[in-house]
């Protein structure tokens, strides 16, 4: 592997300053499950790797019980999320997604922040955070700014982050009661494979009428960046959700998707799987709502 200097600042400000001094040749590193592979393969040739591991503040996971807001530090690992009972019980869509990223060895080290900033069309971590209306807090030389997670992605491997900017955390606004959410990484095998297609659904129902007041249908590998199926979401609003309605929503979502043929799978198959799994994930949401989760 190419030689580099390893820096481990303890604050975000210090990290940004290091990056400023070495600009072109410096690279941030979270868990390194992506960066180290790229350096080994020669796809990335940094002279300086700036590790974010020692910045305690961006590695915290906590829920503010007074406001109901969830805060996920960028350096929180997939395994930490997977093992959290709070995540398992209150944010099943996050659990569904992170528990099948790579292998346990990868999840023990890989971070949610690295997953987002990597910006692959198949990033499993992005879909639930978009469905939950997550907001990313960025910090650069000019200070902080907030951006909706859905607006982070520009194209494959490219986010809106400026070169020296750091993702500090993702905040998830409080979830309404009677909300259910679910994600499926669909492929030949969940572990150690990128998804053929990733489908996340979130539904909120009106307590009295049982009609849908909020819907999120988010798709991975369905476009160059993670996408929301806005037409399908709109279709669900105000409706009493049942199987026929979910089948229709699946069709609309499949039509909206911009799937392509690739070596890993054909576009027609991906569309079929969007149809099937929007329905199934919708049903899972209903089950969770009925179970009072």
């Amino acid at each position: 592997m190419k030689a580099f200097k390893y820096l481990s600042p303890t604050t975000v400000e210090e990290a940004i300053a290091f990056h400023g001094r070495h600009s072109e040749t410096a690279k941030y590193m979270g868990g390194g499950t992506d960066v180290i592979v790229k350096v080994k393969e020669g796809w990335m040739e940094p002279d300086f790797l700036i590790s974010l591991k020692k910045i305690k503040k961006i590695g915290e996971l906590n829920k503010n019980n007074a406001t109901g807001e969830l805060s996920i530090g960028a350096m929180v690992t997939h395994a930490t999320l997977e093992k959290s009972l709070m995540i398992q019980n209150e944010y099943p869509i996050i659990y569904d997604a992170v528990s099948n990223i790579g292998s346990l060895q990868v999840r023990n080290v890989g971070t949610i922040g690295g997953n987002l900033i990597n910006a692959v069309p198949s990033a499993d971590g992005a879909i639930p955070l978009i469905a939950l209306d997550g907001v990313a807090l960025l910090h650069g030389p000019e200070g902080e700014r907030s951006v909706a997670v859905k607006d982070l992605f520009v194209s494959p491997y490219k986010t809106i982050l400026k070169p020296r900017e750091i993702l500090k955390k993702i905040t998830i606004p409080p979830q309404a009661p009677h909300t259910g959410s679910a994600y499926i990484k669909f492929g030949r095998r969940a572990a150690m494979e990128l998804p053929l297609i990733g489908i996340g659904v979130l539904l909120t129902l009106n307590e009295i009428q049982g009609t849908c007041t909020k819907a999120r249908i988010c798709l991975g590998v369905a476009a160059p960046t993670p996408m929301r199926a806005f037409d399908a979401e709109k279709f669900l609003i105000g409706k009493k959700i049942n199987e026929a309605i979910l089948i229709e929503a699946g069709k609309i979502a499949a039509d909206e998707s911009r799937v392509r043929d690739s070596v890993r799978g054909k576009a027609w198959h991906r569309k079929e799987m969007i149809r099937v799994h929007v329905r199934r994930m919708g049903q899972k949401c209903l089950e969770l709502i009925n179970a009072g989760k």
Partner: protein
Amino acid sequence: MTTNISFLLNGDKISYDIKEHWTLLHLLREKLGLIGTKEGCGNGECGACTVIIDKLAVNSCLYLAIEADGKTIETIEGLASTDGTLHPIQQSFVDNGGIQCGFCTPGMIMSSKALLDENPDASREEIKHALAGNICRCTGYIQIFESVEAAQEKVAANKGGKDE
């Protein structure tokens, strides 16, 4: 770009001058002579290089040696007793056909150990989930899952037994 790091390796305090771009796998195998840990793919795909760092199973091929500073690390060499008695998980792999060529075995056993240390009663599903990143080209996996389950029984029996 040499830096001194120190860490606990299989119970021994180690201090070593490393290069900052070395992986932990490189340090273990090429410098410390601990060749039990294997290099398969070098890219996080196969799990042959799995070691336990602060109780977590990690691919040492993607982990920088410099980040091992201050950590507690377990490798396959640390499992057997000094008199040569195998660890119950190791013995169980031997007894239950969990080993054929043996290349995946150190990684499989370290992943299994991390799991059982945390969750001694892990179900078959949980065992599969924890070992999903360890690839074996020989056994077909069933014997490996059975080996882990047999080790669970042995450990439970040694503790006074749950089922027996």
